[in-house]
């Protein structure tokens, strides 16, 4: 875990707020918070539901997680995130929930500036084990990669 005095430092507002919420409570409560967030992960919209093949599989998660990233052609290049993970994988759903709540709807540039170590700002390493944190690090890495690709495709005049 990074021993930052300000767990939210350098994170976009919504993600920073979550990092601070997690850091303010005990390890046990942190797991409960993660469980609550896992329950709030939105269902897939119709265009993805039943079309997991059109999404990216995040193999680094212990349970399969599917991810889709959209970048709008508005001036902000607004990022939309979609996740799918089974109910029997609440930790993976919780990680996805944090990223959804913290990053969905942000401009592409803001998402790209999220530090790569953001997953370690939630004080979860000890509670869920460092090994399991790899899934969240990978999710963020893949989100940023897709945002970059899609933003560049839009700049080149294609469709994202």
């Amino acid at each position: 875990m990074t021993a930052t005095a300000e767990p939210g430092a350098g994170l976009p507002a919504a993600l920073a707020e979550l990092a601070e919420d997690f850091s303010a409570v005990t390890e046990r409560e942190r797991l409960q918070l993660l469980l609550e967030i896992s329950r709030e992960l939105p269902e897939l919209p119709e265009r993805y539901a039943g079309h997991l093949e059109s999404m990216e599989r995040v193999d680094e998660c212990q349970s399969p997680l599917f991810l889709a990233v959209e970048v709008g052609d508005d001036p902000d290049r607004t990022v939309r995130l979609f996740f799918d993970a089974p109910p029997e994988a609440p930790t993976t759903r919780g990680f996805a929930g944090i990223l959804h709540e913290g990053l969905d709807g942000l401009p592409a540039e803001d998402v790209l500036q999220v530090p790569d170590d953001a997953a370690y700002r939630f004080g979860l390493s000890a509670a869920v084990s460092p090994l399991r944190m790899r899934g969240m690090v990978a999710m963020l890495g893949r989100i940023k990669r897709q945002v970059r690709l899609r933003r560049d495709a839009l700049a080149a005049g294609g469709t994202a």
């Binding site: 349970s63 609440p90 990669r145």
Partner: protein, 293 residues
């Protein structure tokens, strides 16, 4: 503890194993829940799954936060183990039934760790969590109050069922089972730009190891295949014999605990060791031989 109801096909299947006392059915567990001298533990890959609902009276045992040492890559010592057991109301004579997600990978791993400490009566729930859920049996989110028990501080015995890297180097040429997926065995790696790597410097397998993915020992529903089916795989097809000295490994030793359980308790092999360092150690070690196919 014996079951009083009529034997079911599952009971008959279990009776055919070398050590049938190591497995209980969901029906047996439902009947014996809350009995004195029995503690039920849930051990999952997902650290939050227990909290979403579990078998009434069951307690959580996390393979990572409870059984692994937080600093050294090793299992907890005797003192910590005594604490982990004691705070779950387990003493040396308690019957412990473990179940979990993923066809009991982590349950088998926990059972194997308990074996390192010589806990005598530890069993798996056949079919694990999925079987209990599929049968629509009762689940609860209520965490039971536990009367702590006095578990003795027992020294861990790493000689009988555990193999270290040095043991494996000495074992080269003798039977070894790689229980990972065929892609991991062959050494194909999923290389994609920008993606975090799987955590091994080399892909492939330990020379001479046979590829028998762990899942071949399990039915679709997570229960174990019958003794005849298991013998067809490990004895007839792979040519192993119950008197063989066998080492099993995977990536971190969890899936190979499942195979260790199958060979040791279901087929009655006398000397099976789990190499828990597995590919995350071997595939990163300098100078050890690696085979690709």
């Amino acid at each position: 503890m014996t079951t009083t109801s009529e034997p079911t096909p599952a009971d008959d299947r279990i009776a055919g194993y070398a050590h049938p006392e190591r497995l209980v059915t969901t029906a047996w567990l439902a009947e014996h829940l809350h009995e004195e001298g029995l503690v039920v533990l849930e051990s999952d890959e997902d650290v939050l799954l227990y909290d979403t609902g579990h078998i009434p009276g069951a307690l959580k045992l996390d393979w990572h936060t409870d059984l692994n040492d937080p600093l050294t890559r090793d299992y907890v010592d005797g003192e910590r183990f005594a604490q982990v057991m004691g705070e779950r109301g387990i003493d040396r004579g308690t019957t412990v039934v473990i179940y979990g997600d993923k066809s009991n990978w982590w349950a088998a791993y926990a059972l194997w760790v308990m074996t390192l400490f010589g806990h005598e009566d530890v069993r798996l729930l056949d079919g694990g969590r999925a079987a209990w859920v599929a049968e629509g049996r009762e689940m609860t989110t209520e965490v039971p109050e536990v009367q702590p028990a006095d578990y003795p501080v027992v020294e861990r015995d790493d000689t009988a069922v555990r193999a270290f890297k040095a043991d494996v180097l000495e074992h080269l040429g003798k039977p070894m089972v790689d229980v990972r997926s065929p892609g991991e065995f062959s050494g194909e790696l999923l290389h994609m730009p920008d993606y975090p790597q799987e955590g091994a410097m080399r892909g492939g397998h330990i020379p001479g190891a046979r590829s028998v993915p762990w899942a071949r020992a399990a039915n679709e529903d997570g229960t174990f295949r019958s003794r005849e089916e298991l013998e067809a795989i490990y004895l007839q097809e792979q040519g192993l014999a119950p008197s063989d000295d066998v080492v099993a490994y995977c990536r971190i030793g969890e899936r190979s605990s499942h195979t260790w359980f199958v060979l040791t308790h279901l087929l009655g092999f006398e000397k099976v060791r789990n190499y828990d360092g597995s590919w995350t150690e071997w595939g990163n070690s300098v100078g050890v031989p690696v085979e690709r196919s």
